[in-house]
């Protein structure tokens, strides 16, 4: 039923983290935003999130513009949403903006994220495993959670 859709207590941190996890599971793609000396630059990337929501992983080859941008300035942002390209999005959709610092993963950290990433996107295995490809992670400092068109909550991640 339509009205039941948003019957959640958005002001409850536990509830909101559950909602974030559900959203991150349901969505495959995110918009990644980096910048080149102040010029913003957006891409679609396949992503996965860590269990504690502290990291968002995505993959890119090292020759890309986004990789170069991050290499020069790790500040980045990602947008994940569940819009369906209908008018109903205005009241039904949820959009989450994550801000933080991005970098390539290495060592044991990479192993953990890679497992999560491939569990979500098994079809990308060849791509991710290629020597030219880097598994990146955004260390999230904040989530801006927008629901019901204009209701906005900010989650600051603890160290």
């Amino acid at each position: 039923m339509d009205f039941e859709f948003r019957e959640v207590k958005v002001a409850d941190p536990r509830q909101i983290t559950l909602e974030l996890k559900a959203l991150f599971t349901s969505q495959g793609l995110a918009v990644l935003s980096t910048h080149d000396h102040g010029q913003p630059y957006c891409n679609l990337v396949a992503f996965a999130s860590s269990e504690d929501l502290k990291h968002l992983a995505f993959a890119t080859t090292r020759a890309t513009r986004k990789f170069t941008n991050i290499d020069e300035d790790p500040r980045a942002s990602m947008l994940i949403d569940n819009r369906s390209n209908r008018v109903a999005d205005f009241h039904e959709a949820m959009a989450v903006t994550a801000t933080g610092h991005a970098q390539e993963t290495i060592g044991p950290e990479k192993d953990g994220l890679l497992k999560l990433y491939l569990a979500k996107h098994p079809h990308l295995e060849d791509f991710v495993m290629s020597p030219s490809c880097a598994l990146m992670r955004l260390e999230v400092l904040r989530y801006y959670v927008v629901s019901r068109f204009q209701h906005v909550m900010v989650l600051t991640m603890k160290e």
Partner: protein, 722 residues
């Protein structure tokens, strides 16, 4: 699919398109029962309308602004009013008009009709909630009929329907409505028959009034009532009504008229007619297989069935829950007029008397036992008045609502709350109190010596005129420190407030009053001459309702203040005890030095704070006072927050009490958890022209004193700066 279905061709297959009411009428017609001529506008028309005009998504947005569980009845009413306003201001697409116009004109021409809802699912045995949707009688001419079709459609989203949304499975994308256009039978007498009484299964109940049935349905006219044994058709009882009024067709609507003396003495039905109505109910019951609730009318000697629906268990179940209370609050015009007299002439003077009766006993001079008794007595008085408040004053707020509806239906304004401008007045007690405060502040502003004396905190004894004015203020309005009343303990709060008012940075906001006469004339110009006196009476009623909405709280606040003053004294005497004692236990603890309260239950509301720190960035409520303001938030949790309030701050509170409004002239904006457009906060914001957002869930927990807020009173949004 047919968009217009004639009554004789609503076959079973078309029932889903026509709704329960139309389907039942069609069955009655086909089985030879006399029913008025009618046409059904199928659900297809509603769907075309809401889809092609974009209304569908606008309704969705309106209803998903906020979690339904956080919405109060008043907010549901507001949502419903806004949706109704959307229907009023959204024309039917011309393609739809083209398809409807011909068949309606062909059948009815210029004859008066009734336009009735025939909701899908309504009137079925699974969901029968009478009176959730609307009917309009005596509608004449194609344009008026088309207009009223939209009003009936809008009633799919009536406040009552929203209240029962779960049972009705109300859903923006699936709920829909068909409409019946029925020849108006100007019955001399009308009524309802319940084929089986809800309280006695062996009997049928017949209720009858003179005139049109609308008078009965709206609760404006009291019916005569008969019960008839179902087994042998014997009339078992007849309760006579005090017959005074009847509903008659009047220029494009109905009006309540006085009965001729002869009719007042004669029951509307004679025994043969009672039995004829009874037999009609039984015949319809045979047709449908279950007992029916039938509306009927007599035109001359001809008995017509106007509509029939099954009597269901759900219908009576609806009466037992608290929503019934809300629905019972909705009052008719006549009923509200009576309530106004009662409140103004009896209840308010009594409340004043009750408040004045207290100061004889100063709590500080009482022994512990006496104080305990005094607390109990004051609490009982307060609670009795609180009950009266719910019983009489809260329903009277519907005076404003009724006016709002009539205003919107007649004037079709873009802003559904434009009607509030006509209600503003400076005679509200809280405004009067603030005006007096401003006068005191003006004295201070003009006299640096007086200001200095006030700052010194040694009083202003050298300024007798000011002292006299101040004590006059306190005698009238109390000292503000206990939100109210004449519990004078400390006038330093008022002194500090007057200083703040005198030296606030800007000249501050002023209660607005603009060309009220012009507004009134504009409003009245929309009514035909025959309805002007009704329009005037309704405006008077609404103004009284608006004023009382405020004043009643202040009167009640004074009574509450006395109770709190005694309670305060009790608390003071108990401060030495090692345990925390709740307000309810104070009298017992005063009497019994060894009293121990039962252990507190554990607080299970802990939230997971390990992972994240959460705060609000932007919160959505209702736009309740237009304008934008940015300022520092002050969350009002108690008296201290009121006395610490600084000019230019934004009030954030759970519910703005009229007894708190003295800080409004200092405020830049208002944010309130309690929702509604007609609540005190919204009313006062409009009076002062302050941006105001109400109905922000958890406003007082998500916003903290010191946060920088932007209150967007146009869109109903509160932004919290980082």
């Amino acid at each position: 699919m047919n968009i217009i279905i004639p009554l004789d061709s609503i076959a079973d297959a078309e029932a889903p398109e026509a709704g329960g009411k139309a389907f039942a009428l069609s069955r009655l017609f086909l089985s030879g029962i006399r029913v008025p001529q009618a046409l059904c506008i199928s659900r297809e028309a509603y769907e075309m309308y809401v889809r092609s005009t974009g209304l569908l998504e606008r309704i969705s947005l309106e209803l998903s602004r906020k979690d339904f569980r956080d919405m109060r009845w008043e907010e549901l009413w507001d949502s419903s009013l806004r949706i109704r306003s959307m229907f009023l201001n959204t024309a039917m697409p011309s393609a739809l008009v083209k398809r409807l116009r011909g068949p309606i004109e062909d059948l009815f021409g210029d004859r008066p009709v009734a336009v009735r809802s025939s909701a899908l699912g309504e009137d079925s045995t699974s969901a029968s909630f009478a009176g959730l949707h609307e009917s309009y009688l005596n509608v004449q001419g194609i344009y008026s009929i088309l207009d009223h079709i939209r009003l009936v459609w809008a009633s799919l989203w009536s406040d009552a329907a929203l209240l029962y949304r779960k049972e009705l499975e109300l859903d923006v994308h699936h709920s829909t409505m068909a409409v019946i256009i029925q020849e108006l039978i100007a019955g001399r007498k009308s009524g309802v028959v319940f084929g089986r009484s809800p309280v006695d299964e062996g009997r049928a109940v017949i209720e009858a009034i003179y005139g049109l049935n609308q008078g009965f349905v709206d609760g404006m006219v009291e019916p005569d009532r008969w019960s008839v044994a179902r087994a042998d058709a014997a009339i078992m009882s007849h309760e006579e009504a005090e017959r005074e009024r009847y509903m008659a067709p009047a220029a494009n609507g109905t009006s309540l008229e006085y009965l001729e003396p002869e009719a007042r003495l004669t029951p509307p039905l004679n025994p043969e007619e009672v039995l004829e109505v009874f037999r009609l109910a039984m015949k319809i019951e045979d047709l449908f297989g279950v007992p029916q609730d039938v509306e009927w009318t007599y035109e001359g000697k001809s008995l017509y069935a106007l509509q029939a629906r099954p009597i269901t268990a759900t219908a009576s179940r609806g009466l037992s829950d608290e929503r019934y209370l809300y629905r019972s609050l909705t009052r008719s015009f006549e009923n509200l007029k009576k309530l106004k007299t009662r409140i103004e002439d009896e209840l308010i003077p009594e409340m004043e008397k009750a408040a004045d009766a207290f100061p004889s006993a100063d709590p500080a001079h009482l022994g512990n036992d006496e104080l305990a008794e005094e607390i109990l007595e004051r609490s009982a008085t307060y609670k009795a008045w609180e009950r009266a408040y719910w019983k009489y004053f809260i329903p009277f707020a519907h005076g404003m609502r009724l006016f709002g509806r009539v205003y919107n239906d007649t004037l079709r304004p873009h802003d559904p709350y434009e009607f509030m401008d006509l209600l503003r007045s400076s005679s509200m007690l809280s405004i009067e109190r603030n005006t007096q405060l401003e006068r005191l502040a003006a004295q201070v502003k003009q006299s640096p010596g007086l200001a200095a004396a006030l700052r010194e905190a040694n009083g202003a004894s050298a300024f007798p005129a000011f002292e006299e004015a101040l004590s006059r203020f306190i005698r009238t309005f109390g000292d503000l420190s206990c939100y109210s009343a004449r519990c004078i303990r400390d006038d330093s709060l008022i002194r500090a407030l007057v200083l703040k008012l005198a030296f606030r940075p800007s000249s501050g906001v002023q209660a607005r009053k603009q060309g009220m006469e012009d507004l009134e004339e504009y409003y009245l110009s929309f009514f035909p001459d025959v309805h002007k006196s009704f329009a005037r009476e309704l405006l008077d009623l609404a103004r009284a309702s608006y004023r009382l909405r405020d004043d009643d709280n202040i009167y009640l606040g004074r009574i509450r203040g006395h109770w709190e003053a005694a309670l305060e004294e009790g608390k003071k005497r108990l401060t030495g005890r090692p345990i925390r004692i709740s307000d309810e236990d104070i009298p017992r603890a005063l009497k019994d030095p060894g009293f121990e309260p039962p252990p507190e239950t554990e607080n299970l509301g802990e939230t997971d704070k390990t992972l994240v720190m959460m705060r609000a960035r932007q919160l959505v409520g209702q736009p309740a006072g237009s304008g934008i303001a940015t300022g520092t938030a002050r969350v009002i949790a108690g008296e201290k927050d009121l006395s610490g309030f600084m000019a230019g701050e934004i009030i954030v509170c759970d519910a703005l009490d009229p007894n708190m409004t003295f800080i409004i002239p200092l405020a830049a904006g208002i944010v309130e958890r309690r929702g509604g457009m007609l609540i005190h906060g919204a009313i006062i914001a409009r009076e002062y022209g302050l941006p105001c957002v109400t109905g922000v869930p958890e406003a007082v927990t998500l916003i903290r004193t010191g946060d920088v807020l932007t209150v967007d009173g146009y869109l109903g949004i509160v932004v919290i700066s980082d």
